[in-house]
Symmetry: C2
Subunit: 193 residues, 2 copies
């Protein structure tokens, strides 16, 4: 494979990028933006090497503790559980939540062999058992798998005497939190049940 | 800017990638495909450093002479002029042309200050004057700028006694060669005028 073909193949690993877009991207970078190609290479390398997971909430972080977990001004009584760093970022942008987060590593999917343990539920139960926590808000997606995940986690948390709420149905059923508009997210937070 | 934000910014330099897609790509690579991020970084670096231009036809090449220019089995009587390496690749995939190429560096665009000289016309006139060349096929796009480019080049070539043809109108007017289906390209080559 030529260097150009290798570049096209590598670009096809990006989500939503097929053969035609990959070709267009490669030709564009080579013909008009080699500087862009170089800075993208550096950014990818830096991200792959320097971005790990916050040891407390599991979101992406360059430091052992992420910016939110390291912020003492957040409301320690609230702990919001999301499926991914992207979902957490969407909640943050809605500017309507001031507690802490716990980021699951995906959602339960029995067919793919992803159970409660694989998504970090053990660490969540420990985190939720800290004395400051008064309420765990389950903000997993309103998809079948997200609902199942919320159900299983709610049972485990309630059996330990922890108060559990769920985002209100302001979030359209069947949609992924990441792509929901911010107003809807804000509304769903206020109406949590 | 965090390493993650830098990655999102760098991804936005890819054609057709806005804020949302860039975020989705960054989160996907970090969460599910760090190996993909690393190989894309290496491929970009290798491409930016190792891919130059063929000294004879100006297309992308890792070697001083590209594979086509180095192939003595091609028909030296034909020289096909295209606007970009992507257009050349489309012609090659149509499997209906066995001559050599000359790749312009874009097309004439007076408003952007791109004139005949900027697209490599001087080198084209030299190349077309070689004794083996009997016909120059102008395969610039059938857009206003592509037609203007073909017109200017045809005049310059004809004034030097060189036979000039143009791809037939099989190619839909207003479209870019790169995105034309291969059958249409093949037909247009046969019907060149
Ligand atoms: Zn954290
Ligand atoms: Zn060449």
């Amino acid at each position: 494979m030529s260097v150009l073909e290798q570049l096209i193949e590598a670009l096809k690993r990006l989500p939503g990028v097929g053969q035609k877009s990959a070709q267009r991207m490669a030709y564009h970078l080579l013909q008009h933006d080699r500087e862009g190609a170089r800075s993208l290479a550096l950014a990818l390398q830096a991200a792959a090497e320097q971005i790990g997971h916050c040891q407390r909430c599991h979101t992406f972080s360059e430091t052992p503790l992420c910016g939110i977990c390291a912020d003492p001004a957040r409301d320690a009584r609230l702990l919001c559980v999301v499926e991914s760093p992207a979902d957490q970022a969407a909640l943050e942008r809605s500017n309507s939540y001031k507690g802490y987060y716990f980021v699951l590593l995906g959602r339960i999917s029995p067919l793919d062999g992803v159970g409660v343990r694989q998504i970090g539920a053990t660490e969540l139960l420990q985190r939720a058992a800290e004395t400051a926590v008064e309420e765990v808000i389950l903000a997993t997606s309103f998809t079948a798998e997200g609902e199942a995940t919320a159900h299983v986690l709610a049972e485990a948390l309630r059996s330990r005497g922890i108060r559990v709420t769920r985002l209100a149905r302001g979030v359209p059923v069947g949609s992924e939190l990441e792509y929901v508009d911010l107003g809807t997210i804000a509304h769903a937070l206020v109406d949590r049940r």
